[in-house]
Symmetry: C2
């Protein structure tokens, strides 16, 4: 009988800790040993009979080349802080307020040709003849007194951002690493040669773990510690830009991008905001470029009979796994680090042979939030368990192929509870994987379509990890959905235009007016409003959270106010009384704590049922519209209770009975029923022991489950009807 103690596990080895490496490899059932950023493997480890992953950050560790050819370094647009004109001339110190160790002005003619100076007060571009550049400073003439001016300019980034993070957070003291731009032909030839030579020099490596590709997510440091991390966006494209890229864009699309297409009044184009049309074109160009270049690397790796896995983080921009070009790269595996269930689903759903999760905590003294993990005051086994509870429920819905860890293995010494916890998780992971291999768990016949600006391109994720985006209700909803027995797809507004609502039972839209999750100006298109209206009127369902379908213009703030039976008042309803209401009883359990207030919500229809109010504002409502129904929520924070509420809401909206999935009635528990394997998996998401009876197609089964534990119950075979 399989004991599930071995396989599908990637261990971070560490030279100098050979004994520990091999001992933990055994204990955790590793079949692969990897190096990490900052660690090396020794011959003793490499030759111990495990498969070997070697980490390569392809654009980094080439400082000599970068210094010899500074024009091959990566660049970005920046916008100066605004300067007030006191008279008719003013000077702008371009890099003032930015971290001098990160940026160096690109003063070339080709670069300055793209620079711009703006009168932000008049919202007008300053004519080129009215400004000049010298010594890091722009001088503006014929300025208008008391107007504010900014300059947009290109500069090289001279410190690779992950290296910069590790220096500034983990007190690294090594040389600052630079990064090359693969768009530069000289750099690209050099990088390919480098990779070939590396492959020749490292015959023992089985898998090259690309960490990751070319362009880091955007991370702009300030000079002042009070605003050190000026801008961080996990999915922004600013770090891909260069005069060459802009020229290539012009050649391809027939129109020129300007600095302002990137700068946007200094706000840049964050992923949380809808992109402009030029930005979408630019993203497409970059995605295709990244895929083409990645394909070349993968071909080289394959030519040395190695596999190419890619780590989906850090320098990942342009390689969206749900983008149109990802499959063309030919990666052999995708590795995703996970804190949350949605990240697990994100990885699991990608079209690639091997899906691997890198668990948290990373084996570092401190975690991403700056709190201790493997150091004084840390409780890494607690952190690991908290993340595991999120990941496990997603793994129960959809399997991946491998799990693993990263970092400095020696730090685990003195944390035996952590070592045991990881071993236990490995066993559960392998049992779940084996069950999935025999047949998927039962799901309810509920197809959820999450609608936002990005649609499938940003399936599951918003922009980065949960804790970086938890001010957005949608990530809470995605996290809940990651473990629920329903089908989930992600739609954008073009999909809606093309009829995608036909394949959806419940649409979810959750955002704030103007953001990408709400949809921005997409709601100004009557066709979108018409399609959603028809969809619900003819029997579909919709859940809206926050300011769903909100945009300015028209006679209601929410463009689906008639569907939801509520609108959001931002002052336009001055002097108009809302419909008075009383709170109605609700058929499903409301996670009261987890629904925040959205200011200004008011009833537009006396038939709207208010299910919960807070501070005098409706925060949960139900509205019948034609043959369909609409639920409005002020927002949602993810918790066991709110995930359960969401499931019950989906079932209520679709008149679905839950017996087929054998879902536990106690909200602390969740389950996955693998009918093919006659196995019911029950997970305790709480820390308390729970005893309960679970009903399913197999009848009833009694469950007694200690806190946080997983149980695999063999149940009677029930022939399908």
């Amino acid at each position: 009988m399989e004991d599930y103690r071995t396989g599908g596990f990637t261990l971070p080895g560490e030279a100098g800790y050979e004994k520990l490496t091999l001992e933990l490899a055994r204990k955790w059932g590793a079949d692969v040993i990897r190096d990490s950023d900052g660690t090396k493997l020794s011959p003793e480890i490499v030759e111990a009979g495990y498969r070997i992953y070697s980490t390569i950050c392809i654009i980094r560790e080439h400082n000599a080349f970068a210094l010899a050819h500074p024009e091959t370094q990566q660049q970005t647009f920046l916008c100066s802080d605004a300067v007030i004109a006191e008279g008719d001339t003013l000077t702008i110190d371009l890099l003032k307020g930015y971290f001098a160790e990160q940026f160096m002005l690109n003063e070339s003619e080709a670069s300055i040709a793209y620079w711009e100076v703006w009168d932000r007060t008049a919202n007008a571009l300053v004519p080129r003849e009215n400004w000049s550049y010298a010594h890091g400073t722009i001088t503006v003439k014929e300025a208008r007194a008391y107007h504010r001016y900014t300059a947009s300019f290109l500069c090289y980034r001279i410190w690779e951002e992950i290296n910069m993070y590790n220096h500034t957070t983990n007190h690294w003291t090594t040389e600052h690493l630079r990064q090359l731009d693969p768009r530069n032909p000289l750099a690209w030839a050099y990088l390919k040669d480098y990779l070939k030579k590396w492959c020749e020099d490292n015959p023992q490596t089985n898998v090259i773990r690309l960490t990751s590709l070319f362009y880091n997510f955007v991370w702009i440091f300030g000079s002042d510690m009070r605003r050190r991390s000026r801008f961080v966006d996990w999915a922004s494209y600013d770090f891909t830009v260069s005069p060459d890229a802009l020229d290539a864009f012009h050649a391809r699309y027939g129109y020129r991008l300007t600095a302002e297409d990137f700068i946007q009044g200094g706000k840049l184009q964050a992923t949380h905001r809808p992109a402009t049309r030029p930005k979408l074109d630019y993203m497409d160009m970059i995605q295709q470029f990244v895929a083409e270049k990645a394909r070349e690397l993968v071909d080289i790796i394959h030519s040395y009979h190695k596999e190419a896995y890619v780590f989906y983080d850090d320098s990942w921009v342009g390689m969206e796994p749900y983008g149109p070009y990802f499959a063309s790269v030919g990666f052999d595996g995708l590795i995703k680090c996970v804190f949350s269930g949605f990240e697990c689903r994100l990885c699991a759903g990608v079209d690639v042979p091997v899906h691997e999760l890198r668990f948290h905590p990373y084996l570092f003294p401190v975690g991403l939030g700056g709190l201790p993990t493997f150091s004084e005051g840390g409780r890494p086994e607690r952190d690991a368990m908290d993340y595991w509870l999120h990941v496990r429920r997603a793994l129960a819905r959809q399997s991946v192929d491998r799990i693993g860890l990263g970092g400095y293995l020696h730090l685990t010494q003195g944390y035996p509870a952590f070592v045991d916890a990881i071993a236990d998780m490995g066993v559960v992971f392998r049992r779940l994987k084996a069950l999935h291999a025999q047949g998927a768990p039962e799901v309810l016949p509920i197809r959820v379509g999450v609608l936002h600006f990005w649609g499938r391109l940003r399936s599951w994720t918003l922009s980065g990890h949960f804790h970086e985006t938890d001010m957005h209700t949608l990530i809470h909803i995605n996290e809940a959905l990651a473990g629920l027995p329903v089908e989930v797809s992600f739609l954008n507004f073009d999909d809606v235009r093309k009829g995608a609502l036909d394949g959806v039972d419940v649409v979810i839209t959750a955002g704030r007016e103007g953001d990408a999750w709400c949809g921005g100006d997409a709601w100004k298109d009557p066709e979108i409003v018409e399609k959603l209206t028809a969809y619900v009127y003819e029997g579909g369902s919709i859940i809206g959270a926050g300011e769903p379908s909100a945009c300015a213009g028209g006679d209601t703030r929410l463009k689906l106010a008639h569907v939801f039976g509520v609108d959001v008042d931002k002052g336009e309803y001055a002097c108009h009384a809302p419909w008075a209401y009383t709170v109605s009883p609700c058929d499903f359990a409301i996670a009261e704590k987890d629904i925040p207030v959205t200011a200004g919500v008011r009833l537009t229809d006396p038939q709207t049922q208010v299910l919960l109010e807070k501070e005098g504002v409706p925060v949960l409502t139900m509205h019948s519209f034609g043959q369909g129904k609409a639920v409005y929520m002020g927002g949602m924070h993810y918790s066991a209770a709110s995930a359960r509420m969401l499931l019950e809401m989906l079932m209520m909206l679709t008149n679905t009975q839950g017996l087929s999935v054998a879902w536990p009635s106690d909200p602390r528990l969740e389950s996955a029923y693998f009918a093919k394997s006659h196995t019911l998996v029950v997970m305790n998401n709480s820390r308390e022991s729970v005893e309960t009876v679970i009903e399913g197609p197999f009848g009833e089964t009694k469950i007694s489950l200690p806190g946080e534990r997983t149980v695999f119950v063999e149940v009677e075979h029930v022939p399908a009807e």
Copy 2:
């Protein structure tokens, strides 16, 4: 010696209670007796030697005429509730959801010519040939399925709104009164004849108290008790409209107003919102029309040797006392009912011979809010005192000529504490009036300019009473200013363009993005931003509350973000870190409870000092900008503490010392120092006894003042320097 027991007091007499009327006239020191809506005076009262005010609501009490000539009744535009098209035709029941007793469709050809049908989904006018009207219903053809349609139409108002209010609130059961439109020539001739005849029939009346003129503030009732009062706006012009008015507008301005100019997607144009250009033109036309017609009435009244006072409430629309045409009417007096200090200042500042306040509570069983006053559970003396504390501090700053009451005098029986309280207030009022007559109280050399869309036209008020508008910070600020020893003026954006900031030491702007108090799109004009920027940069000061200078577009939400050193993030700052801050000590006393949070406020300048934060959001900040300073507040609720804070803030911003006004250091007290009379008036705004020492130009004086009491202290004469 004057005992201040008589004069300047208007008593509401009541037939059947002659003894009570004369007794209270003596007790309260009345020199005038008036009738009220619903009461009559008997010969015994009229002939008792008092001056007599007679109330006339000129457009009301003509039901026979109105029924004989229904086309002379007043009208309004209404917008139907939206109807969703299920196919290519739909019908709209125009008055569905409106109170059938208030409205009657105007089905004339001239009326229907102004009607409109809108596809609100496409935001498009439906061509006239695609809809038809019959029997209260509009039928639309060639509709687009799942679009929402509304109809805008004209109807007569067949129940005068104040009469409707008294029926529905105070259970009146008399005939529903109608109202005539003075724009109709037939009605106007009739009304003038009526007034002449009335004057002839009532020789004993000294003053006709017009209650008030022609057009009521807008008050639209719904059919459903859950939304009975659908729309109420004290300063909206919808009830002035008619096909005749629209045709007159066309003749005058050369362009036509449409239904949508009034309807605005069903929102109407509430006073809290900035008006469109056509609305401003229309208001001007109505104001001029109202003044012309009022002048004719006043001329008639004067020809009978009576005086004409106007009550500034109810049917007041178009006769703004700070409007350009008010003085031309030639009223002999203005009467304002007051709950608050700002209403007292509003009245006192008008260019008219006699200013009179009608105190609250009105002698009715229940108050405006529906709570008991002169009935079981009521404490009218408490209500009167609460209002008085607000009014008194304003009276101490600026005098009026008269005070009085209204309603059913007999209701005061059984409320001796109320009777005594009014008598006491009368004495204080008369003493203050006598002091003002000798010379104004000292003020600080601080000229405050309150900036908003309406400027001087809506001096002091927003739209109605304090309790109707208390969701707007500005009314709290105006109420505080009403009792502070500073000069106050009200500016609009055109005034700013014309250089009005030259006459101001501190600008106050307090509103929410898009509303009239913030200024709406005025902030899109670079000239406005430039003028305010220059003003502060060169040494002026500004206080902004809520979302000051907020509007969409440009690179900051607050167009004066650079001046305030803060901006408001509505999602656009996604991924941008704000400046971190620590809270700084503050030179003035912060009314912490009275400053609410405005969501999204963040620092844009590291030099901005945060003086108070709540829920992690800065709610009170200070920022030096050039030679000037800017204070930002999340908002303000009026209280003794916040009024004091505002004063100290003004003094801090202008480097003003307070000795000249002898302001008490204890925030429960306020004062007025009448240097000419060597009199210091000290008012206790709290219920507690306060002992303190007050410093002034006269030296120090010790004060011991019971709760709510006023003291008049004679102080040494100090020669001016």
